[in-house]
Symmetry: C2
Subunit: 300 residues, 2 copies
C-alpha cells in the first residue's frame, strides 16, 4: 500500500528551507495527488486567465523528505504510474508564449478526457499521453519558482517525464525535498502557447540513491534510451548544454571514445525541444541504450 | 523509364544564373544519381578532412529545368525512391560542429551499408534511414552555397526529406532549376558533428506545380503530417520562424481559428531540430494531418 499525499499539500518554489510534509523510505512507493497548474482555478470556459491568482500557479505536491539521502547523492525517481483527471484546460494568453505576438484574444478551452483520448471542442480527438510538467528536488541554495526549470528539475515540461521512465536528480539538501505537479494529459514538444492539456491527477513513484556520482542531471532513462536535459535563457544555449552533457556521459560513464561518441551522437542521437516558452528554455538530447550496450555499458 | 542524370553533373551553389543540364516535363520521373557530400574524396579511414578540396563539397546533381514552371509558383517535389551506396563516411573536425570545442582529433570512419543496416566500426549496427541533405531550387537573386540552408531549400539536413514524402518550394526562376545531393544513410536530428552517414546514391522524383499560392515554403508533407521548416542564424530565430509559418498555414490554408491553431500546436504539434551546425540553423514544426481533416481541410 503506497503512502498517499493529498493534493492540498503544495509548494510554489523549490528551495532548501521548505518544510517536508512527509518522510518516506528509499524504495517506498508514494502517490502524490496533484492539482493542475492553475490549482483548480480554471474549471469552465468562462474562467479566463485575467482572473487568475498568479500566486497559485504551478503547485507541486510535497516536498517529500526521502530518508538517508544526502547532498551530492544522485537520486533515481522511478515513475510507476500517472493518472489524470476527467477534464483538462488549455488557454491562450495574448503576449505570452511562442505566438504571443499574434494571439490577441484570451480564451479558455475545456477538454474532455475520455478513455485513452482527449476531446478538443467536440471536433478533435487525440491520444492521451500523460506527462509531468513540474518535478524536482530542492537546490542547495536559492529559491526557484515552480514555473522555472533548472539543474534541480522544476518546470522542464519534458514529454519523456512519464510513467515507465526514470528521472535522475542530484540532491541539494538532506532528504532531497522532492515534489511534482502540473500534469498534462498530452503536450507537444515546444509547448507553443505555454500549456499542454492541463489537468489534475496523481503520480505513483519510488526514489532511491544510485551509485552514479557525477551523472549530468537532470537525466532521464526510458526502456530504450537515455537523455540529458538542459535549461538556459536561449534555445541555442540549452541545446549546447544538453549536447555537451550527453558527450560527457558517453565518455565518462559509458567509456565511449570521444570521437566515436560524437559521430554516434550525429548518427543516431536526437536533439529535441522540451519547451521554448518558460523563463528558461529546455532542450534534451536522446541517445539509444542499445549503442551503450555495444560498448559494454549498462546504466543498471 | 525515368530520365537519368549522372552524378558528375553537379553544381555547388543555388543561383538564378545556373545553366540547366536537363529539361523535364512536370510529372515526369527523374533519377538523380548523386555524389556524397565530399564528391567521393573520402573513401578510406586515411582520407582525412585536412586533405579535402573544400571547393568540392556538397555537390548537388542538376540543375534540372522543369518545363512550364514560373517564378512564384509552388512546386511539389514527390520523393519516390532513395537508394544509397555500399559504404558511408563520417568525420570529426576539431573546431567544427556542436562538439568542435572538445573534439581535438581529426578522424574518418568508414561505415558499411549492409541490407537495411549501417555498421559502425564493426561494433554498432543501426537501421538505415536514408534522407537527402541538400535539396532545393534556385533563388530569384543571389547565390547560396550548397552548404547553407534557406528559403530556397539547400542544406536543410531534415530527416523528413526522404522517400514517400513531398517537399514544396516556391519557385524563384523559370524552370525552377532544381537539384539535390548529399544523401545520408542515416542522421540524427541535430547533426552534431556536421555529418550523417555520408554516402553516394540516387533520388527518384517527380515535380509539378500545385495551386497553393502563398504556402510557407519550404514545406514538407508525409503520410501523416505536414511540416514547416525555417533556417536562421540562431536556433531561437529558426524555431520562431517555423512556429509562425505553421500558425500561418493553419489559419490561412486550413482555416483553423488562430486560438484553436495555437492550442492544437501546443497539444499535438512538435517543434523539432533539423540541424544546429550549418551556417544557418534549421528547425521544423510538425502538425498532424488528421487534425487538418477534422477542420475539413485536405492538402490535396
Amino acid at each position: 500500500m503506497a503512502t498517499a499525499i493529498p493534493r492540498d499539500r503544495v509548494f510554489f518554489a523549490f528551495g532548501p528551507d521548505l518544510k517536508p510534509i512527509a518522510e518516506v523510505e528509499q524504495g517506498e512507493e508514494v502517490v502524490l495527488h496533484t492539482h493542475d497548474c492553475f490549482e483548480g482555478q480554471i474549471q469552465r470556459t468562462t474562467d479566463l486567465v485575467d482572473e487568475l491568482d498568479w500566486g497559485h500557479v504551478n503547485p507541486a505536491t510535497g516536498p517529500i523528505y526521502i530518508k538517508g539521502v544526502r547532498p551530492g547523492d544522485v537520486l533515481r525517481v522511478d515513475l510507476l504510474e500517472l493518472q489524470v483527471g476527467e477534464q483538462a484546460s488549455m488557454v491562450t494568453i495574448p503576449g505570452e508564449g511562442a505566438l504571443g505576438d499574434v494571439i490577441t484574444e484570451m480564451e479558455t478551452a475545456i477538454l474532455r478526457l475520455e478513455g485513452d483520448q482527449i476531446v478538443f471542442k467536440d471536433k478533435v480527438r487525440v491520444p492521451k499521453r500523460p506527462m509531468i510538467g513540474v518535478i524536482g528536488v530542492a537546490p542547495a541554495s536559492g529559491e526557484v519558482p515552480n514555473g522555472t526549470p533548472g539543474p534541480h528539475g522544476g518546470n522542464m515540461d519534458c514529454t519523456l517525464v512519464t510513467a515507465g521512465n526514470s528521472v535522475y536528480f542530484t540532491v541539494g539538501v538532506d532528504g532531497a525535498l522532492f515534489g511534482a505537479g502540473d500534469l498534462h494529459a498530452a503536450m507537444g514538444d515546444g509547448e507553443i502557447v505555454v500549456c499542454g492539456a492541463e489537468t489534475s491527477g496523481s503520480v505513483r513513484f519510488k526514489a532511491e540513491v544510485v551509485p552514479l556520482p557525477g551523472l549530468p542531471t537532470p537525466f532521464i532513462e526510458t526502456k530504450d534510451l537515455v537523455s540529458t536535459i538542459f535549461s538556459a535563457p536561449t534555445v541555442d544555449e540549452a541545446a549546447n548544454g544538453a549536447i555537451h552533457r550527453m558527450a560527457q556521459f558517453l565518455t565518462d560513464f559509458a567509456r565511449i571514445p570521444l570521437n566515436d561518441a560524437g559521430m554516434l551522437m550525429s548518427l543516431v542521437g536526437q536533439l529535441k525541444f522540451c519547451q521554448v516558452v518558460d523563463p528558461l528554455k529546455t532542450v534534451r538530447f536522446e541517445f539509444p541504450k542499445a549503442v551503450l550496450e555495444d560498448y559494454g555499458f549498462k546504466l543498471r
